[in-house]
Symmetry: C2
Subunit: 144 residues, 2 copies
DNA sequence: AGCTAAATGAAAACGATTTTCAATTGGCAG
DNA sequence: CTGCCAATTGAAAATCGTTTTCATTTAGCT
């Protein structure tokens, strides 16, 4: 689990400056346990600091993504890429196609499949995306 | 496997008209066994009919996607959604992060994982995305 | 306190996709 | 075969999310 402070130190270590804007962005991201789109993060930060530029959000999110502190959800017909909070450990998503709720899970044993694919295709596999889609409990109940 | 004719009939059945433009788009898509972006499909169709509008490509691809005759690849940092050919059968992708080559594979036994997730989360799971990323044989060789 | 490279915000640029709208056309009805 | 009308088309403009540009500000070392 990354605290705001830890992330700040990480940024400093990498030579990035700690600006008030970045502090607010970190505060926004770490305060929420849900997946958020860029726009949602922007909105949240704006509540604190209406003067902040959307560009700054993008730039900061880019840095955080590059450092592996954030990751993205790849789901949905239009393929909008949703940013989400702290992965660190390898994990996956279960996404409700009705309300967008995202549940994380970590264990996925794909090593057997990966081995077979490596053998068949001679690819050097270095990662995978695994996402389940469905309807969450709430949406099932609501539909009745 | 869908032939051009079969797709035309499917469209007709659904009340869509068969126009010369749509014929050319179908010809382009069915003639290629590779994954193509919208732009690539557009280019290909343009070789046949330079007058065709990109809009028409988009509209036709939307229809075909809705009818389940096409699907998309969800991979890559910027999450560009690549359109590709005829899925019909459930399948997955192995994508080279360097050159973009896509290899399909069909078998993925995720039923155990799916069962466990259903039990844990009470989601009604109805699908999944599984994509491996890596470097293809060519790119590995080239890098040496 | 002063300096400098990094960071910021506004505006413009951008690429992919969608909407608008007037003109055209496929395909059924007569 | 002909006419009609809703569906389809293409051009242009609009839109969306993201990136670039650039002049101004600022974090953080000296």
């Amino acid at each position: 689990m990354y605290t705001e402070k830890k992330i700040e130190n990480l940024l400093r270590q990498q030579g990035y400056k700690i600006t008030p804007q970045r502090r607010k962005i970190l505060a926004a991201i770490t305060s929420v346990n849900e997946h958020m789109t860029t726009a949602e993060i922007y909105d949240k930060v704006c509540q604190e600091d209406p003067g902040i530029g959307l560009v700054t959000i993008y730039r900061t999110l880019d840095i955080l993504t590059e450092l592996g502190l954030l990751c993205e959800v790849h789901v949905g017909g239009n393929c909008r890429s949703y940013l989400m909070r702290r992965p660190v450990e390898h994990h996956h998503h279960l996404v409700c196609s009705e309300c967008g709720t995202v549940v994380d899970f970590t264990d996925c044993d794909l090593s057997g499949l990966e081995d077979r694919l490596t053998k068949d295709t001679h690819f050097e596999i270095n990662g995978h995306i695994l996402e389940f889609t469905g309807r969450c409990r709430n949406c099932i109940v609501r539909a009745k």
